[in-house]
Assembly symmetry: C2
Homo-oligomer: 433 residues x 2
């Protein structure tokens, strides 16, 4: 599809990690942005070798905002079936009595359909790609590809099933499903994985030269237990096994030692924060200000819908900024600009999606339109701060992935009927009760 | 208007502060609920003396949810003009350099228009009434009445202007504007109000037999300074002046002593929590679990849009539950049911709106329709938990106040053109820059 957006406010990312908003047009040809400007210098574009374009659609943005889609840098998408299934319970009983026994009953086909439900929710929230850890990565990746959604799969391998041979197979499958799907090496967490298996995983990451991600230092007890076991924190342990030879990072990163911070800096690792989940499971508040002060790049993730319980990036962005403020007792720390940089650029880099990080000629057209003509976005004192501190899913008018509009004015264009997706999710959990 | 809702899920409040969801019809005649049931016992209704009804509208709810509107139990609505005007600043500089100098320039007419912008945002979030403290209460109340929105005004009196004679005048005006407007005695806070003025305010509350509300123990330094001044906490000080003879309560209530808790229990005071504002201004996390354990009734408020920056009740409800969990390191504490009870019933009682607290025959028709056919509300494992933990403004299909639909399918029906409301808000802040 070739789409010309005009009469738009356009969100541009500057070199110093800040933003500016310009008025103009943005053109998408197939899956890429080919022009951003005032529309007056069109001849120049064609002089650079672009063919004349037949527009499939010309969209009047009505002075609303075009911006890069949000990158959900940690989630377990297909856990949609357990949303609100067993909340307000102590963590252990939630996990062992409610979650694990039902996850054990999931089929690859179940996961395919549950993933689609999650993708729909991502689209309503302006999320254009996810970094997904769950059972059956090839089925999750296929669901994404079939919807037109961009996914980066990783493995949740641990002692309770699977091995690195299967992970390598999944790595190869997910990396061969076309440009919407990729795979980065990962595993569940130190506390669920024996040392020997972690060594195998490190060897695989080195063999395929992949970054490596895992849950890391999500709870205080996880860190204490690891120190008891190995005399090392999870970060130190993973690093000592050679897991970060090609970079990577950690999900959650709530309880970090000075040495952990040093390892993240030395290895160029990403800290992915999951504020909603960390609150709801009573895990704690991550040291976001510290990461930023140290120059550690950060992504933001929703975590899975069973622990969150939504896949709402506006909630995550709001909390990334405001929880830091209350943690540090400093209303000035962690700005809206810093959070939007994580939500778009750093998140994309963390997921290996360097060509989806910003609105720029040549980048992939993973972008969203935010409705500024709603009361929560008025007055327009500062659009950046309005997005982070007052924005909501309701402001998402359109979500485009890889040049295709997948969601527009509350309607989905993913090739699946929402009612059937909902019915299937209810049937899957209904079967298990 | 007479409106018959059918094919609905209906949210009913039970005596033990929990809820059940039943299928059926809900009828509104003029401003009241006159029937809830399966529609099969209609004759019985008329046998009880109801006249036959000519329906103005019959609405197929399509198995979505009708529930009581949310009560915003603390806000400064007309601060919309300062939304995102000066964030990510230290509290003192935000207040003294940005907020106060501009508030001083507001006219009554400005406040009227800025209030309408806030009301529009309330409606998008399912809020059907507000407990509002700001300059010019009669103008704020008039804006509400003109929109058809329900408001409870209070005074923000302090040492920087006004007196109790003006407050009494405002009390009389706001209580005479019809059933959508009322006034409860209040003042800004101990830290902005001399003892002599607080004594006058206490005398006025006793004279008119009103409950009394004020900001209370929002920050640690506020409490420390009060103890230094009087040897008493703000709660103790206010109580010692006879301010709570007819009940009332406090806004924020983050730093509470044992004796404060005792006073709240003894006087039957309401603790109104404002979690978004408390995070964003780095004030702290309120002891919500403690209030609930002690049986202290609670309301939830957005605070003003300059400190929040939105007027989004879903964000507040989510944080009321989840901040308690992280504060107490207990994922099981403060349930979704408890939060919804605050958001609807306790909030209404706190504001003196006993006839707006639940869906029941004879109660005022302050109610909302939530769209359950969206991905964040599926599967329907538990609708109550879905609302609190996964709900968003996007799920609000309709907001009805006093029997009149003011917001439906993202369109407003308040007698004002949104574009003009936005333009006016931009003009007001533009004038001040």
């Amino acid at each position: 599809m070739n789409i010309r957006f005009f009469n738009a406010k356009i969100f541009k990312t500057k070199e110093n990690h800040t933003f500016e908003i310009v008025n103009g047009q943005l053109w998408v040809r197939d899956n890429k942005i080919i022009y951003i400007g005032d529309g007056l210098d069109i001849q120049e574009v064609f002089d650079k070798g672009e063919d004349p374009i037949v527009w499939d659609r010309e969209i009047d943005v009505e002075q609303n905002l075009l911006m890069p889609g949000f990158k959900n840098a940690h989630t377990h998408t297909a856990m949609t079936f357990l949303r609100s299934f067993a909340d307000d319970l102590p963590l252990q009983s939630w996990l062992f009595d409610s979650v694990f026994p039902r996850e054990g009953q999931l089929t690859p086909d179940d996961v395919y359909h549950l993933d689609i439900l999650g993708i729909m929710e991502y689209l309503t929230s302006g999320i254009t790609s996810n970094f997904d850890m769950y059972f059956f990565p090839p089925q999750n990746a296929q669901a994404s590809v079939d919807c037109g959604f961009r996914t980066v799969q990783t493995s949740g391998l641990n002692d309770f099933g699977g091995d690195t041979a299967l992970m390598e197979e999944n790595y190869n499958i997910c990396n061969s499903l076309g440009e919407l799907s990729s795979f980065i090496i990962g595993f569940h967490a130190e506390y669920t994985t024996k040392k020997e298996l972690m060594e195998d995983i490190a060897a695989l990451a080195q063999k395929v030269k992949s970054p490596l991600f895992a849950h890391n230092s999500e709870t205080e007890s996880e860190v204490k237990d690891c120190i008891k076991r190995y005399g090392k924190t999870p970060t130190q342990m993973m690093d000592s096994l050679g897991m970060f030879e090609y970079g990577g990072g950690g999900y959650h990163c709530v309880y970090m030692s000075e040495e952990d911070i040093d390892i993240f800096k030395k290895r160029g690792l990403y800290a992915v924060t999951n504020p909603c989940s960390n609150l709801k499971l009573a895990s704690g508040i991550a040291p976001v200000k510290r990461f930023l002060d140290e120059g550690i790049p950060m992504g933001i993730g929703t975590d899975g819908p069973a622990s969150n319980n939504s896949l709402d990036f506006f909630k995550e962005m709001y909390l990334t900024a405001t929880l830091a403020k209350v943690r540090e007792k400093d209303a000035a720390c962690v700005s809206a600009d810093q959070v939007l940089y994580m939500a778009t650029c750093d998140g994309a880099h963390c997921m290996g999606l360097d060509d989806c990080d910003r609105l720029e000629v040549g980048k992939k057209a993973d972008l969203i339109m935010l409705d500024l003509q709603q009361p929560n976005m008025q007055p327009e004192n500062n659009i950046i701060k309005n997005i982070v501190y007052a924005g909501s899913k309701q402001n998402v008018k359109m979500t485009m992935v890889n040049g295709k509009i997948l969601y527009e004015d509350m309607k989905f264009n993913i090739g699946f009927d929402p009612k059937e997706v909902y019915a299937k999710a209810n049937e899957i959990i209904g079967r298990m009760k």
